[in-house]
């Protein structure tokens, strides 16, 4: 504990350096704006800023990008509450009761509860991250190729199980992503695979063009043709304070959302999105008056908003401790670290404590900055939402183009982004999720390498995956998960996701 405290002090000495502090604030402001603008989620925002971080130190780069990530979590709630438009996907559930509160004249209180809930969740989960990541990193030193194979397989299964769509559809998307990850030169044999003679494909499909295409461009293609522009309400400062009853009603949902969000955040997948869905379902189930949900229940804002911020922190645990991204956003951040020659993984915390602890301390500071930004300055930010969408989306498209091109100065990447935009548009129309594709693409090289190494270690016997204790345990959990989903299929028992409202769409 004393060592953790000393390390944290080291972190604050790094994070409070004027330049780091300045970039943390810039990251939070950009993140808030990015989170508020429909079509520009944290992923597109981080991807666009990635090339700009190449000239920075690794500490500043990661602090800036992390600021964008959790700033977007805060910003997304503003559009959800005031306009019923989720600025980013994790705010979908906030739309339901947040907007209902706005219609009831409680917009200010909803914004206040969302900001305070996000602040509490963000701060508490950073403490959990601080305590858990070093422990997990020490434990992960025992991991070999079979354990990594088992962990990745389990992660993909959990993703399918936790997603709001159908399990086969999600798994199919994950496998498609894994296959796309096969494109390029095989690192173990040097063979060029599926690159069709295009030199730019030798390095494989980049995460940034795929992610920006599937999320940014696809979102624009879906929303740009909307007939009726949404209206914006501007809350007054004196309306910001919630009533005593609203505070009482929010306390437990914030606490539950924080714990739930952090635990879900650690699991691979679009954790911050899933966590807000699960939290909303749990709150409605636990409420004595579930009929209030959908009509302006403050618990429906407090729970999901706390959960998505907490999950954003939880997602950093596997990234920092294991070097494994838990989703597309952390994957882009890993790429940013690798550009600077930093290899995240079990040894990073020991070898580069100033990077890890500086990052942790900057998250504490970021949460304070965001609380300040999101309460008094909300009126200022809302003005941005008054810009007509017909002006806004062309600018977003330009940012997507700029971000993708600038990463590698490659026109092929721009074409990949457009192809993925079309794919993402089609998938959304057909009710498929795009996030598993990106996750599959990221995990493909690690999964392939660890599986091939495992087979080489065991002279071709798959038994190695189930005879070593850690990997056997992980595969047993995966088998339990499959059995569980099959049971609900055959007994016609209601799936847990339907029970907590995860399979429900806003507006219902």
């Amino acid at each position: 504990m004393v060592e953790t405290f000393h390390n944290l002090m080291l972190g604050f000495s790094v994070a409070l350096a004027p330049d780091v502090l300045m970039y943390a604030v810039i990251g939070c402001v950009i993140g808030t704006l990015v989170g508020m603008l429909p079509g520009l989620g944290p992923l597109a925002g981080i991807s666009m800023l990635l090339p700009a971080t190449f000239g920075m130190s690794p500490v500043i780069a990661i602090v800036l990008l992390a600021g964008v990530y959790y700033g977007a979590m805060y910003g997304g709630s503003t559009t959800s509450i005031l306009m019923r438009i989720p600025g980013e996907a994790a705010s979908v559930m906030t739309c339901i009761d947040g907007y209902a509160m706005t219609q009831n004249g409680r917009a200010g209180a909803a914004l206040f509860i969302a900001a305070v809930g996000s602040f509490i969740a963000g701060t508490v989960s950073v403490v959990a991250l601080m305590l858990l990541a070093p422990w997990l990193a020490t434990f992960a030193l025992r991991f070999g190729p079979p354990e990594y194979s088992a962990l990745l397989c389990l992660g993909l299964l959990v993703l399918a199980y936790m997603s709001s769509g159908s399990i086969p559809k999600t798994l199919a998307m994950a496998v498609l992503g894994l296959f796309l990850g096969m494109i390029g030169i095989d690192s173990m044999s040097g063979y060029s695979r599926f690159s069709f003679g295009i030199n730019d494909l030798s390095d494989g499909l980049g995460i940034v063009p795929v992610a920006v295409g599937l999320f940014g461009v696809a979102e624009i293609l879906l929303t740009a043709g909307q007939e009726f522009p949404p209206t914006v309400q501007k809350p007054k400062m004196r309306e910001l304070l919630p009533t005593r009853q609203e505070c009482r009603d929010s306390a437990l949902p914030i606490a539950r959302g924080t714990v739930l969000g952090f635990l879900i955040g650690i699991i691979p997948g679009s954790a911050h999105i899933i966590s807000s869905f699960v939290s909303y379902g749990v709150e409605r189930r636990l409420s004595k008056h579930p009929e209030r949900f959908g009509k302006g229940a403050v618990e429906g804002v407090a729970g999901p908003e706390s959960a998505n911020n907490s999950a954003a922190c939880g997602a950093f645990v596997p990234m920092l401790a294991l070097g494994l991204p838990s989703g597309p956003i952390t994957a882009v951040m890993l790429a940013a670290l690798m550009v600077h020659g930093v290899s995240p993984g079990p040894l990073m915390i020991q070898n580069q404590p100033e990077l890890f602890w500086g990052f942790i301390a900057s998250m504490y500071i970021g949460n304070v900055v965001l609380l300040i930004l999101n309460l008094p300055l909300v009126g200022l930010f809302v003005n941005l939402l008054r810009v007509p969408y017909s002006y806004l989306y062309p600018l977003v498209i330009v940012f997507c183009l700029l971000g993708v091109y600038a990463v590698a100065q490659s026109v092929v990447d721009v074409w990949i982004m457009l192809g993925m935009g079309v794919l993402g548009y089609g998938l959304r129309k057909l009710d498929f999720e795009a996030a598993p594709i990106v996750l599959g693409l990221i995990l493909a090289p690690i999964l392939e390498q660890s599986l091939r190494q495992s087979l080489a270690m065991s002279s071709g016997s798959y038994a190695i995956l189930v005879t070593r204790p850690i990997s056997a345990t992980l595969f047993a959990v995966a088998a339990l998960l499959i059995a569980w989903s099959l049971v609900s299929l055959f007994t016609k028992k209601k799936d847990w996701r339907k029970e907590v409202g995860l399979a429900e769409q806003p507006g219902e």
Binding site: P51, A52, F54, G55, S166, P168, K169, L171, A172, V175, L176, F179, M182, D186, M188, S189, Y191, R193, F194, V217, I220, L221, L222, T223, A224, G225, E227, S390, Y391, Y393, P394, L395, I397, V398, F399, L401, L402, Y405, A406, Q409, V411, V414, W415, L418, G421, V422, Y425, K429, L430, D431, L447, E448, L451, R452, L455, A456, S458, S459, G460, S461
Partner: protein, 137 residues
């Protein structure tokens, strides 16, 4: 469609050496994934019989989407020969002025402001390499 993609992926994988179990080759993992994709495609197709028919899906935004994609395709072709600023300006004039039919003055302001402003911010200030294009404009 997924099953077809799986079948195609499997067909393409045949050119790669499979290797052996104790030394899997570059074609080993793609073949496993192509098979999985094919099987999952069939499962989705069978399960999909109970879901909404394809013909019932509405595509009201399709024309808009095609126009946006066409503009982006132009940008991909033009960004290196014409340069970032000129390409972005043309893109914005088309998107805001032609597709969204906004008045000329705001169109010019948005196109000029965004193309020059973003170039200054990213290329000049943040040193992000963007193509300067014809005559350095």
């Amino acid at each position: 469609m997924i099953a077809t993609a799986g079948a195609y992926a499997g067909w393409q994988s045949r050119k790669l050496p499979l290797g052996s179990l104790d030394n899997p080759g570059p074609g080993y993992m793609p073949l496993i994934l192509a098979t999985l994709l094919f099987v999952l495609g069939l499962v989705v197709a069978v399960a999909g019989r109970q879901s909404q028919p394809l013909a019932q899906i509405r595509w009201p935004e399709l024309r808009h989407a095609i126009a946006i994609l066409g503009t982006c395709a132009f940008a991909a072709l033009a960004i290196e020969p014409l340069g970032y600023r000129l390409t972005v300006a043309i893109m914005l004039v088309f998107l805001v002025g032609v597709i969204e039919r906004k008045p000329p003055l705001p169109v010019i302001l948005v196109a000029a402001g965004m193309s020059l402003g973003s170039y200054w911010l990213f290329a000049t200030l943040l040193k992000v390499p963007l193509p300067p294009g014809l005559f350095g404009i």
